[in-house]
Symmetry: C2
Subunit: 334 residues, 2 copies
């Protein structure tokens, strides 16, 4: 609870001198510096960051904005890893990480700018933002440094992106399915409004074209990242198009629903229908058969995002978009 004022009194110097001594300014005699540090230690002094930030008109607080987060465990896994990655980097660099929950509705009520101002947030990392969200619009003119995860926006130098190279990853999956003899490959995509959905669909389409296969729109379904919806869509697909021998899902969770659907239809994975997912959630390696999937490195994504944001805060130059390495894990479902 001791303040600089108190230390100054004890040391018989001014607060200015204490501040300088404690902050390693050069223009302090070794003798007084030592004395001051001694006293600080003795009274277990720790600086008041709040006051410091106020005086400096800057802050060391980074906001991790989570938008429209579904509180499922699969999602929890992902967010937890992002969080840990970002948090660890922040800690190592004397930044604080503040979690901010929001959703489409809340975004209409209060602007991101205001949220940040109130809390003296220096910059934000955003996850879960959709193209249709109010913040998406706001971000295009945002004045604070901002790192988007899994979504991209152009024309504002304050905003950069960290993501997986979705197109490359999806192509790898589709090419592999083709290599395994599949020609009729369906695609169960996530939420239309999600940026990654668009990109993954693009990858799917390009991959098919690259292989000389026809893209059939009937083979593409949207299950909004819900396991149950994916189940339904898979049933539809397999009933209406019995020629389908492989299904690629834009998330593992959806793939689990599809797996159930295939089983319920009396078919077997991978013999009757091959199945591949995306994300690399824990469950993917515990289900039977184990799921072939693209394992994203969310912890690293969080780390890179924090690192990038801190660089931006220091006016160091960064790439507009960074791709975090993924691993295409081939398992028994294909």
């Amino acid at each position: 609870m001791i303040s600089m004022k108190e230390i100054a009194k004890q040391a018989g110097v001014s607060v200015t001198t204490v501040s300088k001594a404690l902050n390693n300014y050069p223009d302090i005699s070794e003798e007084t510096r030592k004395r001051i540090i001694e006293i600080a230690k003795k009274y277990n002094y720790s600086p008041n960051f709040t006051a410091r930030n106020l005086a400096l008109k800057k802050s060391n607080i980074i906001g991790l904005v989570l938008s429209d987060i579904r509180e499922t465990d699969s999602n929890g896994n992902i967010i937890y890893r992002l969080l840990i990655g970002a948090k660890n980097f922040c800690s190592d660099n004397d930044f604080e990480l503040l979690i901010i929950n929001t959703d489409h509705k809340k975004q209409k009520t209060k602007k991101l700018e205001q949220l940040c101002k109130e809390r003296q947030i220096a910059g934000v990392i955003i996850y879960g933002l959709k193209i249709s969200d109010p913040y998406f619009e706001e971000i295009s003119k945002f004045k604070l440094p901002c790192v988007l995860i899994d979504i991209s926006i152009e024309g504002n130098d304050n905003v950069t992106t960290v993501t997986t190279d979705n197109i490359k990853a999806v192509k790898e999956v589709i090419n592999y399915l083709y290599l395994k003899g599949h020609k009729n490959i369906a695609f169960i995509n996530g939420l239309r409004e999600a940026y990654v959905s668009k990109v993954r669909e693009l990858g799917y389409r390009e991959a098919l074209k690259g292989l000389g296969l026809k893209v059939r729109n009937e083979y593409i379904k949207y299950a909004d990242y819900y396991e149950d919806v994916a189940y339904e869509k898979a049933v539809e697909l397999l009933k209406e198009h019995p020629e389908i021998t492989a299904i690629f899902c834009a998330s593992d969770l959806m793939a689990l629903g599809v797996l159930r659907a295939i089983n319920d239809l009396g078919k077997k994975v991978p013999d009757d229908v091959a199945l591949a997912g995306f994300d690399g959630i824990q469950l993917s390696e515990y289900v039977n058969p184990r799921l072939t999937t693209v394992v994203q490195d969310f912890k690293e994504m969080g780390r890179i995002a924090a690192q990038k944001l801190i660089k931006m805060l220091k006016n160091e130059s960064v790439e507009r978009i960074d791709y975090v390495p993924y691993v295409f894990r081939k398992r028994e479902s294909v």
Copy 2:
């Protein structure tokens, strides 16, 4: 970026008046209040909480201290739910939640008190603390309000606890196993230093006694909450004591290891060996057979912890210990 000073200028009043108007003090004429609020809106004013907190010498920041967290997905699930629960409650009550990572080693370097002072933290919620940790000692004389999750300490009114009624839950499991005809029930416990391990073991012992069964120390193993270690311990147990027909694990993750062990020994769950876990992680309902377990409500635990801490900060009275309801989920593994 506009401040009260600016608003005051625009409105032709003093900063004092602006402060009072914006904070709904009664001694302001309706007319000026309206004018000030108008201007504040027009310029999209938002208060600087940092300055506010400094002036009031209080803070609305709560620290969520995570100690020695294993970055596994199962753990991630748990922490994510705790976090969401606490975070939601904080948001609804105008408190901020700051994540703080620590571990046994870090705890030796810097006291919790100092961590809190630096960041102007009003109180803390702590998860993952062990009896052998430096903070445990410090907490016993802690001056800030503190809510411990899954660990208890007596003699300091600033410290309270939120947990599952582990003894009751464990007894329920053991009684159920007995009801299913099992008399030789082994117990694979977690980390000795963890408070919940002690309590769950107590529950196990008491349950057996209550049923008139003998407690055999050879039936109790410690796998430190590791899946792999649990695998090894299960192999030992089943080889050395073939009469064992049921194994209860202090965590689901360990139960997964045990499940593998049983399978690898050519036995079947539940016919040869019944298996029960603890926690209710997502995997517990996806494995085959699905795991009988005690489903803890971590989100609620986080919520209650935050609620309790905020009450303590407001000097309202709270229970020394709160039990969060759990659900004993009977599934095919028993």
